[in-house]
Amino acid sequence: MSIQVLLDEFKAVASSPKQQLDNFKAQGKKVIGVLPYYAPEELVYAAGLVPMGMWGSNTKNISRAKEYCATFYCTIAQLALEMLLDGTMDQLDGIITPTICDTLRPMSQNYRVSMGDKMPVIFLAHPQNRFAPWGLQFTIDQYTDVKKSLEKIAGKEITNDDINNAIKVYNKSRAVRREFVKLANEHCDVIKPTIRSAVLKAAWFMLKDEYTEKLEALNAELKALPVCDWQGTKVVTSGIICDNPALLAAFEENNIAIAADDVAHESRAFLWDAAEDEADAMMALAKQFAAIDYEVLLYDPKSAENRRGEFVANMVKESGAQGLVLFMQQFCDPEEMEYPYLKKALDDAGIPHIKLGIDQQMRDFGQARTAIQAFADVLELNK
């Protein structure tokens, strides 16, 4: 299959999750909406259900959700509620709502209350002190609750083998995405920022084995191409989400490629694999969560050091980027809290960056465009 055909397919999936949902339902499948962050999608897959990511929307407006929350909440959470209320998500068979940030805590209640008997809202509280045996056990306890709820929806027991199989499928999907990110850097003339985003975004709306197969095909095509001699500049992107094609187009207009990312919706979601040789598959998932590091949302026991900031600064250097663009999701406390020390690490490493305030209801990108254009000149000087 040609690269263009594959890319068009990823693009189609990324831009029409509702169509994907309809397709799954037409096939008689049950679908679970999965909210950010760190929900063990493997369990959904192991139950024979389809997990679909719920990361807001770039085209919806907040209206019905105002009945439940004030304006100063991240639009990802508000738009998820909006789509649950406006009928977009009516076909879902349930949702999983993690509660790792201060917006998701009360929103988990709003989702549950507003859905009533309409669909199960599966609660998930991750531990921050996740490393010791009692931390791992708490993760397992929480995942067991999720598993039981999923079993009820699926009408079948999820066995240890089912989970182990799902872990293998997901590890492969993560590996192939990590490979894609590297290839996208080498072939940034083909994998432009909007395309890169669409390929990675599609993963949230496809069954992972099907996604992996398609992405492996794309990776093979990319590998066959000569590494591009990129004349433009490169950046690392950072933030919770940056999937708005209109905003990413500004990168392309200014010949800025994305060398790597530190984005929750993209690479942060597939950096960490689960062990495939653990006898207890639930323990493998708990250990996988415990291993997640350099995160804005998770406690770092070595917090006196600036590990996350330095990790991201190293990513910029190692990927060959000249700078970093931070997409600051409005009202996202964890991102905002980590910014001063990310800035420090970047400044210490001599890496220029810009911070673009964004939310999913933005429709006018004039200001961001100007900032990106000006930043392109700075990047040129750093080449």
Binding site: P106, P127, N129, F138, Y341
Partner: protein, 488 residues
């Protein structure tokens, strides 16, 4: 239903219990300053970290949330919030966190002074009008405006950096610079040697304390209490928290070089329980109709529950206040500064920088706050470590909506409120995030009106007095209509 035996007289007095409570908080601050000077460790702790653990090691601990509230109430909130923003912390971040992070970075509010003479430079905009012997306001002939009483005027306030001052050579200039720092106790808290973080009230706390640990390169002891979706606290939560208690004890042993003193710990637990019970007893006097005091007083007494609940002096002071209140009931007295016509629950943290503005329309309409969520929120009563773990799971922002509603409706009924005033607090996402649904439930379950207003616990820029007054007015009208309907 608790009622006085006869008509109630309004009296203006500061009772021995209130004075004792003030002293307890003063002592906590003084002890920490002395400890620091003596080279002992001083920690900073989140308000609902189990203070019993630190007390078992005789550690001096200060409380940034309480400090930020005090700084905000003293009108330095905006200055420190802006200082944090200049350090890169977004203005969306909780105002307490911003104030605390600016303070942690060495930022201080200081009085402006003449560098030559050392004299403070008075801000002409401050002060009260000067009055003559007859009590009439003295008018300045030159301007036609009232003259200011020089005794009540204060210097300009500016932002300074303690690290820069400390780097100055010893001498009169350094002395003056240090002396100019605002003398309020919240601006004199020693910098931390360790931090104790419990995120039961919010996850913002986790990153806030990590930032402090990073600024000072100091140990952070983390107690994570995940959000709970059920009214019951399951054994799974208890086991997780008990594991963390053990780790925290081990970390405190390493920090102090001391062994965990079980006797001291038990003593601290006994004190904390005694304080919690006395606190709840004081809160329960608001069940009297009219109430023997203004519910706003509880906001002041919270400093004791936060900073000193494991001290026997705090328990004794609250018990003394309870005795004062009992006596007031017998003497048919109330210290509420206005006749109580309506009773409301105040939902949320007060807007500390705007307390007078918050109080004014309530006073005008005879609205007394007779219920605050802080009453159950700090009433940690437990027996043994498992129950202690369960108790610390029950913070306002760590419980499910059913538990939150039950707490509030419980005190609304017990304290006979006519309505609810809801603070949509820009600084507190977990608290404000399900208030709309709670409002609907209060009205549906209790038949009482609710009114919401926008504000902030520490950043005065997020409060609009005109909007607040309109909302209070609306609430009063709804409460009156309700009352008349009931009477009819």
């Amino acid at each position: 239903m608790a009622n006085y035996a006869g008509p109630v007289k309004l009296v203006k007095k500061v009772t021995p219990g209130v004075l004792a409570l003030r002293k307890v908080v003063d002592d906590v601050h003084t002890d920490a300053r002395i400890a620091k000077k003596e080279g002992k460790l001083v920690g900073w702790s989140s308000s609902k970290f189990p203070c019993e653990l630190a007390a078992a090691f005789d550690l001096n601990v200060m409380y940034p949330e309480n400090q930020a509230a005090g700084i905000a109430a003293n009108r330095y909130g905006e200055l420190l919030c802006q200082a944090a923003e200049d350090l890169g912390y977004d203005n969306d971040i909780c105002g307490y966190a911003r104030i605390s992070l600016a303070y942690s970075a060495g930022k201080r509010a200081a009085r402006k002074y003449d560098k030559e003479t050392g004299e403070f430079i008075i801000d002409p905009a401050t002060g009260k009008p000067l009055k003559d012997a007859e009590g009439n306001v003295v008018i300045d002939e030159a301007t036609g405006k009232p003259k200011k009483d020089p005794k009540t005027q204060s210097p300009y306030i500016e932002l300074v950096d303690l690290n820069e001052i400390n780097a100055m050579p010893d001498g009169i200039d350094k002395e003056r610079a240090l002396n100019a720092i605002s003398p309020i106790r919240q601006m004199q808290i020693p910098q931390p040697d360790f931090v104790l973080c419990c995120n039961n009230i919010c996850n913002c706390m986790t990153k806030w304390y990590e930032n402090i640990a990073r600024m000072h390169n100091i140990p952070l002891i983390m107690l994570d209490i995940p959000y709970n979706n059920t009214v019951e606290v399951s054994d799974s939560y208890v086991a997780y928290i008990r594991g963390q208690f053990d780790l925290a004890i081990q970390q405190l042993e390493e920090l102090t070089g001391k062994k965990f003193d079980e006797k001291k710990f038990e003593e601290a637990c006994a004190n904390a329980n005694r304080t919690a019970k006395a606190w709840l007893k004081v809160c329960d006097y608001l069940q009297y109709k009219p109430a023997p005091y203004s519910g706003f007083d509880l906001f002041n007494h919270m400093a004791d529950v936060v900073t000193a609940r494991a001290r026997v002096e705090a328990a004794e002071a609250f018990e003394l206040l309870a005795e004062d209140l009992e006596q007031q009931i017998k003497d048919l007295e109330s210290t509420c500064p206005f006749p109580e016509n309506y009773r409301v629950m105040f939902e949320g943290i007060p807007c500390w920088p705007k307390l007078p503005a918050l109080f004014k329309p309530l006073k005008e309409h005879g609205v007394n706050v007779t219920a605050v969520v802080y009453a159950p929120a700090f009433g940690f009563v437990y027996d043994g470590l498992d129950e202690m773990a369960r108790a610390y799971c029950k913070a306002p922002n760590s419980v499910c909506i059913e538990q939150g509603v039950a707490w509030r409706e419980g005190i609304c009924v017990d304290n006979q409120v006519d309505g609810v005033l809801v603070h949509y607090n820009r600084s507190c996402k977990p608290w404000s995030g399900y208030m709309a649904e709670m409002q609907r439930r209060f009205t549906a379950d209790l038949g009482i009106p609710c009114a919401g207003f926008d504000g902030d616990q520490a950043d005065p820029r997020n409060f609009n007095a005109a909007q607040y007054e309109t909302r209070v007015q609306g609430l009063v009208e709804a409460m009156e209509a309700n009352r008349q309907a009931k009477e009819a």
